[in-house]
């Protein structure tokens, strides 16, 4: 095994471990929401499991998987080892230490503050310090990849940046811009407050800084999934990428538009002027466009694959696609689910209609379609290629790998559609006991929560399949040289077309201007208001 593969593999193992623990926590929640009389079912256990599931799945699993992917793709695309591997290992150690601190605090019941850690809910300082270390570790990873890119660029000044690296650079730029917000929240507000240096905290300011980070976090999850869709899946399908410049345009649009969007999560909040909310809503609606472009380009790439295999009609190419290969089916099914998620997102981010679904079960239904499927299912499907490539072992339990994406698809349809519907009926999210003394309205939600629980069982079964395949392959797969993972070729090489799309300095500068425009004045305006602050609460 080459040394940087060891680094990518270490990151992948942390991701798989976090995913497995988080899945068990999810089962607890799904059954609990169905009001089943489970052993250990208490409010404290419920909120602990909600927090652990959110943090381990949405932050730890995704971040470590993306770091593994970044190392692997960069090395494959450049045909060289990464620079400053030692920094990569130190960063991995810092991020892992932070993860252990934060998840330890959660599992000990000292940090049931949910994945958004909104104050005045207050956690043990270990949680905030651990989460900060995870972010710091990811900055080290970002540096390693940027440094590797710069060295390659110096040696290859005339070469086009490989598409996979272009996408990973976009991921890193979005991440660095986003994490400024959460770093400010942690260092200036949460950590001093949790350590007792300050008595009160400003919840609105904390929420503004959290959502500076929280929504671009969505694109930090999504862009690497798109990198897989653009650079791997067309090849897996047996075809070619329909358009390389369109893919680059998509990544650039994410760099520019990902961050100035956070206030669409705060449309019900006081303390933010309506003008700024509208500005963020406008940017959020714009960012639907690159996902539409992606849907077109990837489906067209699938059509190319089908036509190369002999299809001639309008839709017969669909039959020619490799539906039995989980590296393909996971992406195709993820795209179908994401089509619904995109529609729901356009409702969440509509200024008026947000009130209809705000803080209801609709929201958890929505983000399980996006991060929970478009991203997570793509990552799982690619893991069936990545784990053998990194370990040099055969994929084991292949049948489980084949059925796993379909189980996830079924489970997520049941889970998410039922949550969308109960959300529209007014069922709140993140509530342990929602019977409200047997009120008539609450009774209407019960069929939906039951279907949601059945979906949760499907999802848990799928997660167990994934964990079993990963453990079986990584620990017990037959060792032998594995087939290289090749990138998809575009139908037409990009040549020197639209070279401006490769100029990350320009797009980063535009993005920084937009972030300042979106956040500087609202924060200044907020700081000029009379603020009272809040003392901490730790109810569970």
């Amino acid at each position: 095994m080459i040394p940087s593969h060891r680094l990518a593999l270490a990151n992948l193992w942390v991701a798989v471990s976090a995913f497995t623990i988080a899945s068990a926590m999810a089962l607890m929640q799904a059954l609990s929401r169905a009001d089943l009389d489970l052993p250990f079912r208490t409010p404290k256990m419920y909120y602990l499991s909600v927090t652990a599931h959110g943090v381990l799945m949405a932050i730890v699993f995704t971040t470590f998987f993306i770091m593994a992917l970044g190392y692997f793709f960069t090395e494959r695309a450049f045909h060289r080892s990464i620079e400053q591997r030692t920094v990569g290992w130190i960063s991995f150690g810092v991020a892992t230490l932070g993860t252990l601190m934060a998840s330890g605090a959660i599992l000990l019941g000292k940090a049931s503050v949910l994945y958004t850690f909104y104050p005045p809910l207050k956690a043990h300082p270990l949680f905030y310090i651990g989460a900060t270390l995870l972010i710091v570790g990811s900055w080290g990873w970002s540096w390693v990849l940027i440094r590797t890119y710069l060295v390659w660029k110096r040696e290859n000044p005339e070469s086009r940046t490989p598409l996979a690296v272009h996408g990973m650079l976009a991921t890193i730029i979005v991440w660095l811009l986003a994490t400024v917000g959460v770093a400010a929240e942690a260092l200036l507000l949460l950590i001093p407050w949790s350590l007792g240096f300050t008595e009160k905290i400003d919840p609105i300011l904390a929420r503004m800084l959290f959502w500076w980070f929280g929504h671009p976090l969505v694109y930090f999850w999504l862009i690497p999934a798109y990198v897989i869709w653009y650079t791997i899946t067309p090849k897996v399908a047996g075809g070619k990428l329909f358009s390389d410049p369109l893919a680059r345009l998509v990544f650039v649009m994410f760099i520019v538009l990902s961050t100035p969007v956070g206030f669409h999560h705060q449309l019900m909040d006081p303390g933010v002027d309506a003008t700024w909310k509208l500005f963020h809503v406008f940017n959020t609606q714009l960012i639907i466009f690159p996902s539409m472009l992606t849907a077109f380009t990837i489906i067209a790439s699938f059509e190319v694959a089908g036509r190369l295999k002999g299809a001639r009609g309008w839709f017969d190419w669909l039959e020619k696609l490799p539906w039995g290969d989980p590296a393909f089916s996971s992406v195709a099914l993820a795209m179908m689910i994401f089509a619904i998620g995109g529609w729901g997102g356009a409702i969440n981010a509509a200024y008026g209609m947000n009130a209809m679904v705000h803080n209801t079960a609709w929201v958890q239904g929505h983000f399980h379609l996006t991060v929970g499927t478009a991203t997570a299912l793509t990552f799982m499907g690619f893991s069936y290629r990545l784990m053998p490539a990194l370990t040099g072992r055969d994929l084991e339990l292949g049948l489980l790998a084949i059925i796993q994406p379909y189980l996830w698809f079924m489970g997520m349809l049941l889970f998410s559609i039922s949550n969308h519907l109960t959300g529209l009926q007014g069922m709140p999210r993140r509530i342990y006991q929602f019977q409200y003394g047997g009120s008539e309205i609450a009774q209407q939600w019960l069929p939906g929560t039951g279907i949601s629980a059945v979906g949760g069982l499907f999802l848990f079964g799928s997660a167990l399949c994934f964990a079993a395949v990963m453990l079986g392959t990584g620990l017990a797969g037959t060792k032998r040289p594995q087939k290289e993972i090749d990138f998809a070729e575009p139908i037409e090489p990009p040549g020197h077309k639209a070279m401006i799309l490769d100029n990350m300095k320009v797009w980063t500068a535009i993005a920084i201007v937009l972030v300042i425009a979106a956040y500087a004045l609202p924060i200044i305006q907020h700081l000029q208001l009379e603020r009272f602050g809040a003392r901490g609460l730790s109810p569970f």
């Binding site: 539409m292 489906i299 309008w314 590296a327």
Partner: protein
Amino acid sequence: MSDDRVESSEPVEIGSHPKGTLAIVAVYGALFLLAWLVLYFFVFVPRGTLTP
């Protein structure tokens, strides 16, 4: 597990208009808009806005 074989011996014009894709994307776009408007007119508007 992937199938990279090219089964047809006829020349394939892979850079031509992807008619199936255009149809799928058009249908999706129409459904997207229709479902959004259904929710707007039949759920959101009857409930009324937060402020009169």
